[in-house]
Symmetry: C2
Subunit: 339 residues, 2 copies
Amino acid sequence: MATLKNRKIVLASRPVGEPKASDFRLEEAPAPAPREGEMLLKTRWLSLDPYMRGRMSAAKSYVKPVEVGEVMVGGTVSEVVESKHQGFKPGDIVSAFAGWQDYALSDGSMLQKLDPKLAPLSTALGVLGMPGMTAYFGLLDIGKPKAGETVVVSAASGAVGAVVGQIAKLKGCRVVGVAGGPEKCRYVTGELGFDACVDHRAPDLAEKLAAACPQGADVYFENVGGSTWAAVFPLFNNYARVPVCGMIAHYNDTELPPGPDRTVQLMRAVLTKRLTLRGFIVFDFVARIGEFQREMSEWVRAGKIKYREDVIEGLENAPAGLIGMLKGKNFGKLLVKVA
Amino acid sequence: MATLKNRKIVLASRPVGEPKASDFRLEEAPAPAPREGEMLLKTRWLSLDPYMRGRMSAAKSYVKPVEVGEVMVGGTVSEVVESKHQGFKPGDIVSAFAGWQDYALSDGSMLQKLDPKLAPLSTALGVLGMPGMTAYFGLLDIGKPKAGETVVVSAASGAVGAVVGQIAKLKGCRVVGVAGGPEKCRYVTGELGFDACVDHRAPDLAEKLAAACPQGADVYFENVGGSTWAAVFPLFNNYARVPVCGMIAHYNDTELPPGPDRTVQLMRAVLTKRLTLRGFIVFDFVARIGEFQREMSEWVRAGKIKYREDVIEGLENAPAGLIGMLKGKNFGKLLVKVA
């Protein structure tokens, strides 16, 4: 096979606050050659997700950070272009974790074969992939919504929030979204069928959210933190559940917000309202992926769960995509079409 | 029956910060006469518990506050002295919620008959009563301790904490207490059998607690807040569980602590360490009281769970008792011997 050129985007420097274009660097190198038991993957789609900001920092999060000079990590839909692995042959399409690059080696671990006839390939990075599964288990296992309850969802037009709210509707809940701007809010109520949606940029967010939740909030799916958290906090009913999935409003923070220290206020509410706050990541539920895939693909086929994609063309534009996502610029699941 | 004199302690004014003696008032009135279906209870033992501070404030907590001029609420062991109720006769001993007074009417609701031969009557307010049940369900249902895990217990020599730690030992955990002063700490390790105990007044509390938890903390039973919370917070392991039972360090707070606002730090830890924080009160588990009573009375009879009582003589001394408890002056379950 002729030597293939591999473009890869590496972490050039650790961002302080908002990542800048100069925190990334595009490098080129020959694509690596697979050894026995390995294969070469060509990236078709790259997923951009909020957790990537955490990997750019030195602070310990779920797993070790990306080192300066290393390729940025990320989920991909990839095609097998050369294989010395028994289980895969050229032309196979897989979901992988190949990172921000054109080509990557794989030994087959963590790969799932995809059937292009069953669903558009990009959905393996969205509604039928990690974001969808995050929504599914976070809402159902931690949020435990009951018919008639009120479920509040932040980042409601995003890859996770949109699915959370639609599942909550299927479970018979009143669903209130919080999203950035009137266009996203119209989509959340008009297309996704939420009962209400509040713009988190509104100066009277707290009042508007309270008005949209006349019975208070029984579940709050936390993706963002910040002013949305502050607005929903007074609305919690007794025994409310809070799946803590993300805090995108704080990922670029360089210091703690000014006082007073409201931790005591939070813990007092946990105590007197008997709240449950529980953090999770999708990998906590990986053993139950089959359950998710069966039910969600049925819902998507039946048109009960809709999704929207925001597609960026070209690997070289991935850094601008991530920088924009952290400011809420994407509208729907953010993807890079690499090849 | 001759008219009986009823002494009662009422809320004279809502405390600002620490309650003062003048926030209480001792009043005398004739004991009320039971009507058909009612009985007159004479208080033998009155329980003093941290939650009572909350009831003295106007702020909504679990239930409505005590109004100014009303009798202070509280659990009691009482004797039936006059009965127009089919189910009870004079001489019956009951656990009740008769408040800070010599006599009270009851229609029989919320009463449990006690058998003086089975256990000392005062234990119905401690290890076999509400504090013991709080410890039992808070630890087992929310903390879910597994053998080999590390369980940290605040207010470890108190009515709840002492039971939490001893149950955790029965479950095979490493148990680390936090208590106020060397005498309480000696009791916690020497008598109650905790593996270690750290004095929360030590200036190097955080370092000492970290040293006592070489494997981190998997369960933290929260009774206090304040510096103990700050010391245990960095020690949480992934998937740690935090039953939130009380925050006695803050009950006298008149304002929020100064900044920075550490809420974000807390939520970030909930997220990345997948913590579970869950508030509860014992009444959430009232349907399962039988389960608790069977197992706990067996443990107490077998000497597997020990308890210590701190007894105040005379109803008139109850206010000083509660004021002292909020400063950590009691040593063991605080009780007032009323008659």
